[in-house]
Symmetry: D3
Subunit: 249 residues, 6 copies
């Protein structure tokens, strides 16, 4: 029995609120059980210094942060100017996952910045960030007239597909989906999987620090991940509704 | 006419949500027009190194931060390890304001940490932080049994009074209350006033960078501030309701 | 009785030495009782990056620092790359106070940098810095030929007026002027006031961390501040003498 | 055809030199084609601050760095006090991989520090670091008498098994083993796999930033990784020779 | 002819003011031509962390800094938390020079901190810092009763001798003493020499970045340094007067 | 008797390996007894910001670092963004020494970066760095066609001469050459001397922290240094062989 009485292959209850704040063109509050993340997306023309604007391509970068009140006991704010390794790893993970479905040529010479600020943390913050950020990303891109024409997304929309992510793991000898903090803490193996709406893998990160794992366990975890991500994809599309009609290109 | 059609002596619409997140004992989302601040309060026994725990007194410290998506264009995250002067000034201001109504002896050897994270910024973030943080502070202190007995606050509650803050300023030759960002930007004189629920001054910070000001203008601004703060005090008390019966001591 | 036998409305003995060092165009050593501050002023054409030189305006910025030997026990040097909140607040205070009497258009596309280095600290370092810096500022500006014609300051001098500052406070129930460190340490309320030579307010910063204060106390403190500042203004003008004849413009 | 004429399932030529320097108890120079890494291992009793020495367990931590001359053009030295995200990720990866085969109880209250300094970089530095560090780790642990008795490793040796790592990827539509820099740069999918000498997975990190990948491609890459790691395991054991007889426990 | 018309073997006019500020037990303003340095000395019982107080010995450490107004154009303040190489070298030089004449056993478990803050810089700041700091050091040590008995320095005074320093160099083919900035800038060889009052070498640092030098030139420079240092030693002793009677021990 | 049975005027066994790594045009591993340093040299056209490329001159800069495994116990990596004073001093020393024999005009608008990474430290790392870096510098400069024509160095080669360095000191009352760590630790006086192949002094740094020294001792140490450096010069030239025929210019 899982600590919150879920079946082994069940996601936690998910809630996605678009337009949560008004100051960013994309702003989504996504919640999964006791975890909630505010994903805001902004687009600017200030390309990173290493990019050559004349080539016409853009870039997407992500930043991740946990608010001090998001954990108990309170998490000390990162004010020493040293990003801890975990934070750095997570924001690189979010950025890679979203870039996998972006067409940088269609984006044009723009910089998309995705901010994932965790308001409450109960496991799975990095995967929930990816799942929520995509929705905010659609809203931010739609704020550009050239990508959005009344109700329809035009052909040249810079997003090829949705992307969603979920954690799976081996807990007490069984593969389980969408670990809460308590499960994550005791898991023998912990794996984060990112897949597109179309069912392709974007990223697999599996680590067995407590014990190692074999091929059969790997297969069970990947199966759960696929199930969870297909459910998350449906929720994303439902939430976006009419605003997100990917045309056949 | 003010940009949002308010009278010169009118506050913006205020909304205070208690228990906004579950991971901190005090958690309040306070909104005033287009500004919203998440105030979380935690209490620990890790006193700051400069305090001598054996003396039995506690301390309250505040941290302030604007989320990147809270402004348009996006505000760069402070990751250089250098707190900018404005942030440092604001969190010192919040801490002083709250300490003015705290009884550190009654608090005992505990450290109260107040976090004010701005989700949306449209002027007045520092004063709104003070006003919201007091409510979260009551909730956090009430999570200690010794301060809270069922429905009633005990005699030894470490808070002597509420405190609330508001901005006033000289805009186009007139004193106005609770400036939004556009007014703040054009104000000739900008003043932040902090007062207790009982009507005593805690802090006055008035600056005339664009022009200087005379005693009559000072008097007009102080009068508006008193009016606004007495209204904010009523809202705080209404919101806290039964949980906050200051006994006569 | 005050610790140094002054009347409640008496300033400490003030001494202002112009041209204290030879390497900066403005260099003033100002002393008030046991406090002494070296104020040097330099002017360059390196505008801060956020300014658009083509607009023809300039800027003034201030830096404040206490030498390690200026306090007892020795003050640790700020070498961690983190400006502490107090230092940051003070140098912003000095900068705002001086900018309030500067005409940035007349200054032209130049950056004025004011350095206030405290050699000995016995209370009132921030207000004494403002009072001394103005004198050094006049000397630095006069080093430009276009502002200075033989003995007379020309019409286009970028300073509109002098500015001076003083601290007042409530000590043992009484309002007192120009607090030394021992008074500052025990003051219930501490207020810094900045006024122009013409008697307009530039800045009021009053804080009651130990206790709160009422309107009558506020009025007493403001009255003392006005008296002190008018005396400081006379000393500044005497010291500048013939070099500083503001013409009617 | 691969750029260095290897078969798709061939490792680069590997060379492992033990005792490369004399100042560390474990010191291995490992080379694979154009990549060479100096792995040194030291053991101390200074546990990290978050560990409770009285519990009797130890810890292993890894640091990774590229010498400036290891790349062309020269790599700027990290002297800003900010570990870049990639470095942080890699040293966390090395540490996790080695800890997976360590018995921290048998290690006792000691801190093992593994340093992987890249002298020449031509792809695969993170996986080669893991493979080389294990050999240096055996030498460092053997420098403790209690773990090493003449020619034999005692029962209580803190290492349960060897561990080795290799990169695989999809290059021009084909799965290939042990990518050099040029292949890594053009790979559609890049995956690092860590396995024990006994054939269990320790870590899988696969990322498709250029394109996504399907289950069949995943299977091909994992098969290559298994083959490569079993060959690396033989080399490690040959190199350690008599010094590393894991007893049946 | 030297730029200030001195003979090749002449020092600049020297002025040493003791008790320049009141907040530090040792406080000396030393001037040589256009260079002036404020040397303050404080003594505390906070030994550096690497010292074992139970061994009964003390330590002396020095810090060096140039005030922003000490050069023209203004020198940017070191606020990035990175001590530049030159500053670091100079304060290590000052510390070594003073420690060479200190008896750390007689000092006892105390930390002496020497601060050399340059108010005006015209060459020779590091050597002038050493020469001035010794005088402030005597005053600071004399503030301890056990070292100072009325008018006489006791046997156990922790200073074995005075120390003084001077720069010499090859300028336009000639060896010259006590270089001002303009000479320093054009010197082919620049050498700093530190000697005790008794005429022993403490430190020699000679660098020929513009050209190399031979043994004869070395000998000429060393001869000038000896002459200059013996004159500085006389000035130090005159200035200290009755307060500094080294007893025969 | 010296700890390694050398005569007082004997160098440790020296070994110089050119082309140690393949990623830098100059790459030398130099060893002297238990000390080994990897010197790599790279040349780029990115001049430092303070240089004016249009003037046609270049610059040489050096960086020094000790690998963590180069000392026992392990040396903590410099990751705080604060170069310690010793490192900063050493890399300035290496840079000055090499620049003394460089013709910056002949180098043209290029930046030469010399990296000295210590693999094993047993005293004399800074002087060995200079001696090894010169050899790597020749190789790096020869990688430019215009400086190197088949077997011969052209007239315009930017190096005027070789340079080599060695440490000398007073140990147990005697002057000794090329101190190992144990001697360095106990030396009363420690001196580093840098000379050109032609026998001119480039730098002398002598410090007597434990005791002071007189002119006779200075002379003995300088004589030993000259002998050692002339031997090192022969080794450098032998090692470079045909590649380094300085033409008469």
């Amino acid at each position: 029995m899982r600590c919150d009485h879920r079946a082994e292959d069940a996601l936690r209850p998910i809630r996605i609120q678009r337009h949560f704040t008004r100051t960013s063109p994309g702003s989504v509050l996504i919640q999964a059980g006791g975890t909630s993340v505010l994903c805001t997306v902004n687009v600017s023309t200030d390309l990173p210094p290493w990019m050559d604007a004349s080539k016409g391509s853009g870039w997407l970068t992500a930043e991740y942060n946990m608010l001090p009140g998001s954990t108990c006991p309170r998490k000390k704010r990162d004010r020493e100017g040293k990003l801890d390794g975990r934070t750095s790893e997570i924001q690189r993970f979010i950025g890679r996952s979203l870039r996998a479905v972006m067409d940088m040529k269609k984006l044009g010479p723009r910089l998309v910045t995705v901010d994932c600020d965790v308001l409450e943390a109960d496991g799975g913050t990095r995967t929930l960030s990816v799942t929520g950020a995509v929705v905010a990303l659609v809203d931010a891109l739609c704020s550009f007239e050239e990508f959005f024409d009344g109700k329809k997304i035009l052909k040249d929309f810079p997003l090829r597909d949705t992307v969603a992510a979920v954690s799976v793991g081996m807990v007490e000898g069984k593969a389980v989906l969408d670990l809460c903090y308590q499960e994550d803490f005791t898991a023998a193996v912990d794996m984060n999987v990112v897949m597109t709406g179309g069912g392709q893998f974007v990223e697999i990160q599996g680590t067995g620090e407590k014990t190692t794992f074999d091929e059969k366990e790997l297969a069970s975890m990947l199966a759960l991940a696929k199930k969870g991500i297909s459910e998350l994809t449906v929720m994303q599309k439902t939430c976006l509704g009419e605003d997100f009609l990917f045309e056949k290109t």
